[in-house]
Amino acid sequence: MVILSPLRYLASAFSAQNSPRQLALGFALGAVIGLVPKGNLTAMVLMMLLFAFRVNLGAGLLGAFVFSWIAVLTDPIAHQVGQSLLTAEPLKSIWTALYDMPVVPWTAFNNTLVLGSFLLGLAAFYPICRLSEPIWTRYWPPLQNRLRKFRVVKLLWGAQITTTLGSH
């Protein structure tokens, strides 16, 4: 059981903050992460925010996974958005100043796809959060009931956690 403790803590990280609002916030933040190309500081900061805020990590990772596939469709739009902003003459001084600052170049903001998809993600954050909250309210309780029946869930989450889950 000692070996299982860290895994239980990990499982609790994914299962905690499981109110519909926290689930919706986590899913929306995950959507932004999914849309932004990885391998840059922007994606890493977004991941850190997901871990730092009191939002549901499981929903966040689900959102990142789902929207990574959706990003294939939105990439051309994101590229257009990023390109138009980065090449806009009035914004040039801002971009130049940012580009010359330490650390900022690692965010890859000067990449059309990174900037475009990040802005698309930010724009989509609130709608995704609002639209997904009723869905989580309706479907999360029956989903919990189904999950409790799996032996692996019982083993990892333990009676205490499953009781906690059951209390909702």
Binding site: K92, T96, N111, V114
Partner: protein, 580 residues
Amino acid sequence: MRWKYLIPRGILLAMMWLFFTFTLDPLLKRAAIFSGQVTTGTRIDVAQLATGFFPPTIDVNETQVANRHSPGTNLIEWNHFHLSLEGGPLLKKSFIVDEASLTGLKFGTPRDDDGRSDDLSRLGSQSSELANAFQQKVKNAGSHWLGLLTEKAKDRLDPRKLETARVADARHANWKKRFDTLEAQIKDFERRAKQIESRVKSGDGNELQKLQRYRQAAADVRTLLDDVQQVRAEMSQLPQIARNDQNALNQARLRDLESIEQTVGFLRLDSDLISESLLGPELAAHLDFALSWIGWLNDSAEQLAQYEAPDRTWGEDIVFRRKVELPRYLIRKLNVSGEAKLGGELVPFQGQVTGLTSEPAVYGKPIVAHVEGSGPVPLTLDLTLDRTGDVPIHTAEFTCAIPNSTEMELGDADKFALQVSGQRAKLRVRLRLTGEQIEGDVRIAQAAVALKAKSDAKLNPRVKKMFQHAFDNVSRLEIAVAISGTLDEPHWMLWSNIGDELANGLNGALASEFAAQRRNLESQVAAAAHEQIEGFNASLGKRYTQLNSELQLSESHARRIVEKAAGGRGLNLNGLLRLK
């Protein structure tokens, strides 16, 4: 304390730390191998890549870069490559290294596999083509000049090739035909005379019939004698024809002598041909070495500068102008040390490369390398790869004493090779590549040399003697190849004192050889021509006399028949023959 909040996140952070600790280096290693293979077009093996964060360092150990054009060998390998990144530029995403070190550098080492990679490869293709073309040219040159020399050294007096002999043979054949025809005619006269005689002697028939036979015989004899006269007339023209033929023979003899003069006059060997054939194989190797390296460096630098990630995945990076421009990758100074194999001998060296960058235009300085040998073999390499302007300009100067060069073999052992012994030879290669234009030279110098033809060379003894005479004049060896043109269509010009001195020596030997041979030939031609003409005259005179006497006999025979027939019967011979 919200442990329920902190502990799960602490565990996730620990997992991320484990990921970076145990998987970042292998991932970077794979990325380095992939990008290196794309850049160089050859297979790259890296045994270990280790990164450090405080300060940011990278160590790349036991690395091998395969030589795709020489399966089973490495183009380059090193034991340890260490670099420490500067923190300030790194925050701005520029990988700047003030000083790095590359140790245990080796070239041309063997490897376990053939080193083929499915990635791009253009390494050394142009230089190999150039070297192959060069070798082919010098091979042809070698065959040509040696063949020429052997041909020239042969005894050129072949009686069958003399014009005198050819003319004499032709005229002889004409005379034989002519005499055979005359002989046949004279024999025919004899036969006809005997027929007439037998008809005259026959006692058959009455007197009238006999008289008619005599008259007929007289007419036949008259025809026979006319024919005899005609043949005699033909024979009277023969001396004139013989004189004409003799004149023709004399003319042929004079032309034979003139031909010998001309042949001796043209007996000059080309020093460039000799140089190319003897020195080509040795120089082609050095040329290939120099051009393959400069070509590889040029291609790699170009590939690195032009490398772009695919648009679909990565979008487009918009670059903004900084107050202080920094290249993306830069190693300001790289200390190198290792061993290079020269002439089969390992030569230790050390040096430094400065300004190694992916964006030379941004950095504003060329890549400069200076390497010196640290062992007993003197060696220096100065290399400048300048891609700061619109047209890339690369220069390379390499000087070294060629190891094991106190005994060198020059030329093609299958045809003709020279054994050269002397002091250690010095090599200097200078190349300048401006865009596609290439110019430079390769020079080899060796003092106190002694030349010797390889014993297994299949040479005419007379040629060997001439060579020995020429070798005695050569005491130093200087070779130079001037290269110009473009990488696609290079031109070269080879010069060597060995070519000049051998050509001079051989030409001198050939001149004295052929002066003696010319005198010999002239006397032989004169003797041969005299023999031909005399033989011709003797044969002609003997046959002519014989035929003339046979003709006389035939005519006398014919006249006796008629006289005999007419005299016994009281006939008038003159009237019978209607002779006046």
